[in-house]
Symmetry: none
Subunit: 205 residues, 4 copies
Amino acid sequence: MSDKKIHILKEAEKVIAAKGYDAASVRDIAEAAGVNLAMISYYFGSKEKLMEALLRYRMEFMALKMEHLKKDSSISPAEKIQALMQAYIERIFNNQDFAKIIMAEQVIRKHPATLALLRQLKLNNYKSLNDIVEEGIKKNFFKKDTEAFFLFTTLTGVVNHIIINKQFYIDFHQLENVNEEKINEMLAQKTFIHIHKIFKLFLEK
Amino acid sequence: MSDKKIHILKEAEKVIAAKGYDAASVRDIAEAAGVNLAMISYYFGSKEKLMEALLRYRMEFMALKMEHLKKDSSISPAEKIQALMQAYIERIFNNQDFAKIIMAEQVIRKHPATLALLRQLKLNNYKSLNDIVEEGIKKNFFKKDTEAFFLFTTLTGVVNHIIINKQFYIDFHQLENVNEEKINEMLAQKTFIHIHKIFKLFLEK
Amino acid sequence: MSDKKIHILKEAEKVIAAKGYDAASVRDIAEAAGVNLAMISYYFGSKEKLMEALLRYRMEFMALKMEHLKKDSSISPAEKIQALMQAYIERIFNNQDFAKIIMAEQVIRKHPATLALLRQLKLNNYKSLNDIVEEGIKKNFFKKDTEAFFLFTTLTGVVNHIIINKQFYIDFHQLENVNEEKINEMLAQKTFIHIHKIFKLFLEK
Amino acid sequence: MSDKKIHILKEAEKVIAAKGYDAASVRDIAEAAGVNLAMISYYFGSKEKLMEALLRYRMEFMALKMEHLKKDSSISPAEKIQALMQAYIERIFNNQDFAKIIMAEQVIRKHPATLALLRQLKLNNYKSLNDIVEEGIKKNFFKKDTEAFFLFTTLTGVVNHIIINKQFYIDFHQLENVNEEKINEMLAQKTFIHIHKIFKLFLEK
DNA sequence: AATGAATGAGCGTTCATTCAT
DNA sequence: CATGAATGAACGCTCATTCAT
């Protein structure tokens, strides 16, 4: 993909995360990207296809491809889970705009083309988690009776809601003057510890 | 509030939950409610004020007013937490449309008027939780080192993400033909058990 | 149909006849009719539907409903043909804008919805002519071997091409300063005589 | 003119005949001709000038240049008329797309540049006819009182309307499965006979 | 109180054309 | 000679809202 297309996608991501897909006009996006209005259609075909392109572009980085981990028997299931958690938290925290867009897209809108993409992403991530859990159970490291679905929604739900409530956290703890990067780091770390404890509770014998 | 207004709000809730605020046109809402288009502005002033009215109307039921519990010293903090969890899960599951609207509103849009309302709701709910936690700590029932913020985001994050991923769960477990009411009940119960375990982990000594 | 709708249709007819359907923008039509741009969609739904409404509105006057003539046996087939010719010439000359629109629509564009309407109009007119011709043949007044199709295309082709070439006629005979009404009357009369002779040639024994 | 230009013109002719000038986008034409979009402007300057080029290119074949006939006194005026009729019918039937474009252009659009060209074409054709008619009158072969204008509009009107109504004719006589070439031949022949009779009526003493 | 009619603003998209290479 | 990239203008249409009744 051309640099210009990527540039437009990145600016579009900001605008759409801030306003939502419907309220983000093509004119808004074009202005933010510093390109002519007609370029959007020229490059992507339509607003909807730009959205699709954005999802495809970012999903590559969002997807938890744990293939290299799965087959490595020198790493314990517990360590794999830890790595997956770490990767997910990192990715969400490193692209909070995209995380918001995905959240909004799941809750409302549900455009057919994006729906299929999101389902695929979700399925892949879910399976990555599930595979490790099943491996852990088989190898007798993990408890048998834990539904992966609840672990999955816990991981995604907690991380995403921490993103949503970040401003609330800042306000509550009066961190307005703290560097945002610092806050993100701190929150990410605390989030990891928090979820790690939960996963241990549900998985480790 | 007049019955007609409430009727419009309820229909608007469905439409907005399905399409999102921006994509839900006043025409859509008027048609769904079976009222004249001009009635919306006539009754509520504007689309935005209808949204505000909807938030106010539903937030009364969403807010976790635990005053009657707080002062009752015959109930243990653990039981209070349990009651709060139960109440929250019940409310989200009983009004999934509104839950979606609130989620979308928090993630995107962020209209000043609604922002303040949502912040208030969040603060109230957070404080309800926090009060109980602090009481538990003071009474030496709960661990000292647990941040209420993470308990809060866990409760809200998990419950809301289970709502978001309900369809995914149905597809995955092939429950397409199961009565939706049944699925809701089952999921709500499992969600309660799941979160209850987490809370125990973080709070109980 | 409301007066305002009819007013818009009449102004639209002028604009579309002058520029052609595609070049006549909704903005042009709205301006010509002195109404707000959005009124066009409000009243007619879309530009295409306005066109359809125009066709339906004018076709009532364009159709050669000769039922009252057909059954009247006191009128000879020759007189009936004469009446039909007269009626057709009159209608085309009295609404030259619409005649042009129909011509252009038949030649190019051919939008499904209008295509069906025009086909119906053509079929009705053709049948009106054909019925009389067949009656004349049966009653032994008319020649047997004349194809109605060529009479039909002669009538419509000649009349419409005289409309098309009216300006050419005016220029050629330097009638720039003659009242248009006069020219129309004169041309209509000459056209009638011309076609009458042709029809006599092909029909009368 | 280069082969490529001619190729573009021929493809443009098809597209414009099918959709009309305004609805035929430069993109459509470029795609149909298999050339780069920018080539159109590059070769012809603009869409309008392409249209002009098309008119100029085709008008050479459309113009009824009867000079060689006019001066030949061994051919009777009646035979000359016949030759002109034949030539006109042939040209229209052999290039129905262009005939449609000319018709549409005369009825609507009327762009200054094309208007002048078409007027010239019309004038030339009209004069070719008129010259022969006048010669016939002078030589006492033809009736005096026939206006050439009505002969002209009869020739052009009937032929062009037969083209317009060709599909109607096919539908009516259920000739859907007959080879189009065959239908054209048959119609052209019938048209010639038909118009020939009319011209005889109006001209021969 | 209730509503059909109307409106200005803005939407996503496509247009013919130009420009840099 | 040829073309991919880019652009300003305009397109048909829908929006939330207002107004006259």
